[in-house]
């Protein structure tokens, strides 16, 4: 695999008010920054209980990285720290740092609201708002003050196309989102998550509540989206991890055990624990 981890294209350029375009498929793998997201000696506590023990990780941009591991190993907890969603829970505490593009996300000058707008999140159980499909997708734009109707319309089409949902719902954009099927709702949530053009997409077991066909559709989506987003996906399903991700991190009991190319993790892992998990001896 020709991985181009060099950051030869240096600093990405800020583009605003760009017209919505469906993504074009090319054979060229976009370049990636190696340490786009860096986790430094990160420890996390729920009250007195330490649930993440000194995690060190470097996640490159524009790739799909998956977090795998048995239940309770801390993978979702780590994921939810990237956009500081854990702060909504009282009594949590952390030590160590997480930086994105060199800037610590816990820096006092970083506004957590701005951070969350630059990062999209898809939850395990789809959670559309009790509004129309249109309203769901433009919500992130409206809260950022974007009110221009044509901009909103374009965004809705762009996102729904990217989420492979456009053809199914284009005639009922103003009907309630709660009337969709489970798989459609989750794809709607993905569309909503990319509406404000975040750089990073966090997915917390997005397919665990979906049937196999819907799951396959979402996985196709992830593979296409990665050209433009940095995606981190938490999954229980090892086959899914091997299908969609280039890099895999294996967690166990709050520790990062192994982090390597997906292919290597699943065929020739370095750590015994990894091998035991992969082959199903525990977890």
């Amino acid at each position: 695999m020709s991985n181009d981890y060099t950051s030869s294209e240096a600093h990405p350029i800020q583009v605003s008010n760009e017209t919505a375009l469906p993504y074009e498929l090319t054979d060229v793998v976009p370049p990636s920054e190696t340490n786009f997201i860096k986790v430094n000696d990160f420890r996390f506590f729920y009250g007195k209980k330490e649930v993440l023990h000194g995690v060190n990780l470097e996640i490159p941009s524009r790739r799909v990285t998956s977090f795998i591991g048995p239940s309770g190993c801390g993978k979702s907890t780590l994921l939810r720290n990237f956009n500081r969603m854990n702060e909504l829970i009282p009594g949590v505490r952390h030590e160590g740092d997480i930086t994105i593009h060199g800037t610590s996300i816990f820096d006092p000058s970083v506004e957590v609201i701005a951070l969350r707008r630059r990062i999209g999140m898809v939850f395990q159980k789809s959670n559309p708002f009790p509004m129309s499909i249109y309203g769901n997708i433009v919500y992130p734009l409206r809260i950022a003050g974007q009110g221009d109707r044509s901009m909103l319309d374009e965004t809705v089409e762009r996102c729904l196309r990217s989420a492979a949902l456009w053809d199914e719902v284009k005639d009922r954009l103003h009907e309630s989102a709660l009337g969709l099927s489970g798989g459609q709702m989750q794809r709607l949530c993905i569309a909503r998550a990319i509406a404000s053009r975040p750089e990073i997409l966090l997915m917390d077991e997005p397919c665990s509540a979906l049937d196999p066909i819907a799951t396959a559709k979402v996985e196709e989506l992830i593979i296409e989206l990665k050209r433009n987003f940095t995606i981190i996906i938490v999954t229980h399903n090892m086959h899914q991890a091997s299908r969609v991700s280039e890099l895999t991190a294996f967690f166990y009991l709050g520790n990062l055990v192994e982090f390597d190319e997906t292919r290597k993790i699943f065929t020739n892992p370095s750590k015994l624990q990894t091998e035991e998990y992969i082959t199903g001896r525990f977890g």
Partner: protein, 325 residues
């Protein structure tokens, strides 16, 4: 401006700089308004107590404890004593409870056990809720035209035969302690039913099963296992109903006869704190207002103590039954 890298359109990939100009958080005015609302609510309670005490102070200062033990209430002579009224308050509430408890408990049992199909049980629950919602003054109106004649008729019979007992001494007025207590019973019955019912339904099914398995009949189970388990909750409902009865005003004012005389008989007129306030405030003047405020303060204290006691018992029972589950 570069718009594509490697053939792929670039998105908003600006650096995650802390000085991103796109967002500056405004102060949350709405939160401030909500905080203000909370503070005002808390202050309101303090204000209520404070204002009443303040206006009552002249009377407290002038009459002191004698206010509570005094038996004469004569605004014209400047003599104020609320003992008969206090006794009337406690008596009427107690009598109301005496009638309401068995009735309310029966209904609670009826709708928590499966004597009847569920739809009928829901209907009875709705009916009891409706009882609770009828305004006090409508109870009073009904009481004037239905209960007073009834009490007068049967009260006369009662005093004729049992009049030697001070409790039933005649003459049997229509407006009397008994009338007011009966209607009060009706008004606090929903409280007893609602709280008793919720105490009965949380008795774990395993206890019921265990009793039946030992060969007990339904009623043996109810009387031997379920009622005792739920009894703290039932006690709480009784305490809270007592508190509600003490605070009830309009129906009582219309039915109790508003007499300041102390009497043993159930069939003579009486008075309660709330009825006293209702009748006298609009025309009170000078020290009388202060005396009435004193009486109001007493009423607040009484109902507060009873309500807090009831709540504490209720919370205790909730904690106790959760252990069983």
């Amino acid at each position: 401006m570069r718009t594509r890298i490697g053939g792929v359109p670039i998105l908003n990939t600006g650096t995650l700089s802390p000085l991103t100009p796109e967002y500056r958080r405004n102060p949350d005015f709405f939160k401030g308004a909500c905080q203000l609302a909370c503070i005002l609510t808390i202050l309101l309670l303090a204000f209520i107590f404070g204002e009443i005490l303040l206006k009552a102070w002249p009377a407290i200062h002038q009459f002191g404890f004698g206010f509570i033990t005094g038996t004469q209430w004569s605004p014209n002579r400047g003599v104020f004593g609320v003992l008969p009224v206090l006794i009337g308050t406690v008596e009427s509430s107690f009598l109301a409870l005496l009638v309401a408890l068995p009735l309310g408990l029966s209904i609670a049992l009826f709708i928590s056990e499966d004597f009847l199909p569920n739809s009928l049980r829901q209907f009875i629950r709705f009916v009891v809720e409706l009882l609770a919602a009828i305004p006090s003054v409508v109870y009073g109106l009904w009481g004037v035209f239905v209960v007073i004649p009834l009490v007068q008729k049967y009260g006369t019979i009662l005093s004729d035969h049992f009049g030697f007992l001070p409790l039933f001494a005649g003459p049997a007025y229509g407006n009397s302690l008994l009338t007011a207590s009966l209607v009060l019973a009706l008004m606090v019955l929903p409280t007893i039913t609602a709280i008793s019912r919720s105490s009965l339904v949380v008795v774990p099914y395993s206890l019921r099963e265990g009793s039946y398995a030992l060969g007990a009949t339904r009623w043996e189970t109810i009387l031997g296992v379920i009622l005792p388990t739920a009894s703290p909750g039932i006690v709480a409902s009784a305490i809270l109903a007592f508190g509600r009865a003490m605070g009830e005003t309009m129906a009582v004012a219309m039915l109790i006869g508003n007499s300041q005389r102390l009497s043993w008989s159930l069939l003579s007129p009486s008075n309660t704190l709330s009825a006293l306030l209702a009748n006298q405030f609009s025309e009170a003047d000078g020290i009388q207002i202060s005396a009435l405020m004193y009486a109001a303060a007493l009423l607040v204290a009484l109902t507060l103590v009873v309500n807090i006691a009831g709540e504490m018992v209720l919370r205790q029972t909730q904690r106790a039954t959760s252990v069983l589950r």
